[in-house]
Symmetry: D2
Subunit: 141 residues, 4 copies
């Protein structure tokens, strides 16, 4: 299958006084598109466990490099790929473009964790079927 390609519109809330999308908006778009990819893969974003805990995907590292600006109302194209899968972690790579022009590149490392109230997230191994579903969104090459 390969990477997921989707679109997001620059909302007014995403802009700043420099007249362009605020740099933080790209992190919100990455999270939103990561969730869209998980739904497309049939993997729960939050999965209630028999013991009452939730399994989810908190991030341990995020980053973004900016190449050009986008403005209110622009429809941007976002490509999201699974770049690596470790024992407990998934690395996503994002490419943002507008009208064929490169806009930004981002990356997110999320770790599958058991979430329980009042204790820190505890990394858990990614089950084989989840791994397989995510492999379908691998970047080429």
């Amino acid at each position: 299958m390969g990477p997921l390609t989707t679109r997001r519109r620059v909302e007014f809330r995403d802009t700043d006084a420099a007249g362009i999308a605020h740099f933080s908006a790209f992190f919100f778009w990455m999270e939103s598109v990561e969730h869209e990819l998980l739904r497309a893969a049939g993997v729960a974003v939050v999965e209630r466990q028999p013991d009452g805990s939730d399994v989810s995907w908190p991030r341990v590292s995020t980053g973004c490099d900016y190449e050009s600006a986008v403005h209110f109302g622009d429809e941007i194209e976002v490509t999201a790929a699974v770049a690596a899968i470790g024992r407990t972690s998934v690395t996503y790579a994002f490419v943002f473009a507008h009208a064929g022009r490169p806009v930004a590149r981002g990356r997110v490392v999320a770790v599958r964790c058991a979430m329980r109230p009042a204790t820190p997230p505890e990394p858990v191994a990614i089950p084989a079927d989840v791994r397989q579903r995510l492999e379908a969104f691998r970047s080429a090459g």
Copy 2:
């Protein structure tokens, strides 16, 4: 004692492509200043109960009227008063000014509620001592 007066700076995240503070920023400032008032009153924003539930103050109504704009870096003066206290609810009134110029007026109705997972918030009576602490921030007249 009367109303609480405090200051907030317009951060870049609060601005939009019109070059001014986005209208939503006033709701964030109201929430932040409401919490500052509660701390000044010695009232917990979130209070763990013996039965494991939390008592907190979700809002049932919010509103804001805008008179003039503020810009990145402006230090604004916020006055927060308790306008009314009902059996379970508190109404706050906010006045925003910059350099003596009126900027906006807001209002929030918050309800004291028991919060339990997977059930809707349940309104609870405001205890006498909490009521007394809040009365100290009553608007004059």
Copy 3:
């Protein structure tokens, strides 16, 4: 035609530590749906004028009443209607629902203004053709 009905998904960025959509998210949704209504009406959200100024729609009053909570991932239904049109202002009424259950009601008063750098927004009369396009989204009755 009557009101516009559309959908928004509760994103993770919209939630708070109470586990539900933060009250501020409704204001972002109102703004986003107002812009969707303007686009559907064929009215520019920002319109560059021959003299170099922009005509846009800053808000002078906003408010929201909350009836029940929505959670991460919920798809909510938003109905937006034009409730009143004055010489320079438009009042919008919003109804939020989830799975048939009422969630919130909001209102926004926006004023058509000429926006010029370093001067306050200046209200301008709504042209007849814009008024006619907006009338199509009038609430019934």
Copy 4:
């Protein structure tokens, strides 16, 4: 002088449904503390030029690594240092801690640019006096 150390409180708006500060909040704190450092250094965040353009500091790269979570109401300690100064760019390094416990590490690369309407930001050399003021916030070693 060395790095700037300051404090920020986790506001409710910064939290998410996992009950902790949302990962995006660290980017807002970095921007806010970068501006506090510039003000402490006597360097304008936005500087109007004789030709009517603004000189400011858009970012070309940002990133954050997360080590532990912080919660609503926590007061976090933020240390901001100038890690490198190039011809047009400044690299900032941020360390977040709470009660002595490491929370996150972030980095921002900002470029001094002339900002003009309708044209992309144009990198400009950092003047000697600005460079000198920023050098005072160099990280040790």
